[in-house]
């Protein structure tokens, strides 16, 4: 039974990945809580609304100037970095749990998206990207030459 699914629109790019991850997830008993620190950073959720897709991600402490969103050839890339300000030397840390570093994630998006109208906002550490759906294209008649 399928466990891991990006959603049928995205299936094209991820068929093999889906099959492999399904095999993995079906063979392992995972509790979701335990994944919180072991998962990818930044984590991404994808939602669908009638007029658009909505992508959300948790990026606390990432400043807008350290966040780069690009879209090219139908691929959305999120690049961000978070370094510790205050530049403390490591020996003064009593506890260090927050992830730090540079991350990049890329997602293939369906071509039924209006790329010029992507909008994104970063508020309280939550990134939201609006991906408006392209209107259905009208079928185009193809003239046929006879002999």
């Amino acid at each position: 039974m399928p466990v891991f699914r990006w959603g049928h629109h995205w299936g094209e790019a991820f068929h093999d990945l889906e099959r492999e991850v399904d095999r993995l997830l079906n063979s392992v008993n995972m509790t979701f809580q335990g994944l919180r620190f072991g998962r990818q950073f930044p984590p991404i959720n994808l939602y669908e609304l009638p007029e658009e897709y909505l992508l959300t991600s948790e990026l606390p402490g990432v400043k807008i100037e350290d966040l780069e969103l690009t879209i090219a050839a139908g691929v959305l890339t999120i690049r961000c970095s978070r370094t510790e300000d205050g530049s403390n030397d490591e020996s003064r840390y009593r506890r260090q749990e927050r992830p730090r570093g540079t991350w990049q994630r890329s997602l293939t998006i369906p071509d039924r998206i209006l790329e010029e109208e992507l909008r994104a906002d970063l508020t309280n550490g939550i990134l939201r990207i609006h991906l408006p759906k392209a209107p259905q294209e009208k079928p185009r008649q193809i003239p046929v030459m006879g002999n």
Partner: protein, 132 residues
């Protein structure tokens, strides 16, 4: 074929209150480091704003609770999920030498930073010794 005996309609079931909505509660990751003036604690609380953050000190215990409002409209259909929305809760025991009255905190871009200043060293007090 006999007619069905008419039976009184069973009373409609009493309205059941909707089950309480489950909210996930997460333990936010924190960094703690020392500075000359005291300790600095930083916590990742994405989605929490000043209006939804609660910070309390009581009996040497620091409690932080951040409520996270939904990031997407209710009718949004979830296609792919790597994290769940939830609130944040974590508590800490403060050491003896933290000056409770001078604790300050800021919240920026979903990161809470709390400054826990060291209490100033008590001045030694001379004790007069009276003679016999």
């Amino acid at each position: 074929m006999s007619n069905e005996l008419s039976r009184p309609e069973p009373a409609p079931p009493a309205p059941v209150p909707p089950p309480p909505v489950e909210r996930m509660v997460f333990t936010p990751p924190i960094d703690i480091f020392e500075t000359d003036g005291g300790l600095i604690l930083r916590a990742d609380l994405p989605g929490v704003s000043l209006e939804t953050l609660e910070l309390q000190v009581q009996n040497n215990r620091l409690i932080l609770f951040g409520r996270v409002p939904p990031a997407v409209p209710e009718e949004a259909r979830l296609l792919h999920q790597e994290y769940r929305e939830g609130d944040f809760l974590r508590s800490f025991i403060l050491s003896e030498n933290v000056d409770h009255d001078r604790i300050t905190a800021t919240l920026t871009n979903g990161v809470l930073e709390i400054f826990l200043p060291h209490a100033p060293q008590a001045q030694p007090r001379r004790i007069q010794v009276s003679g016999p």
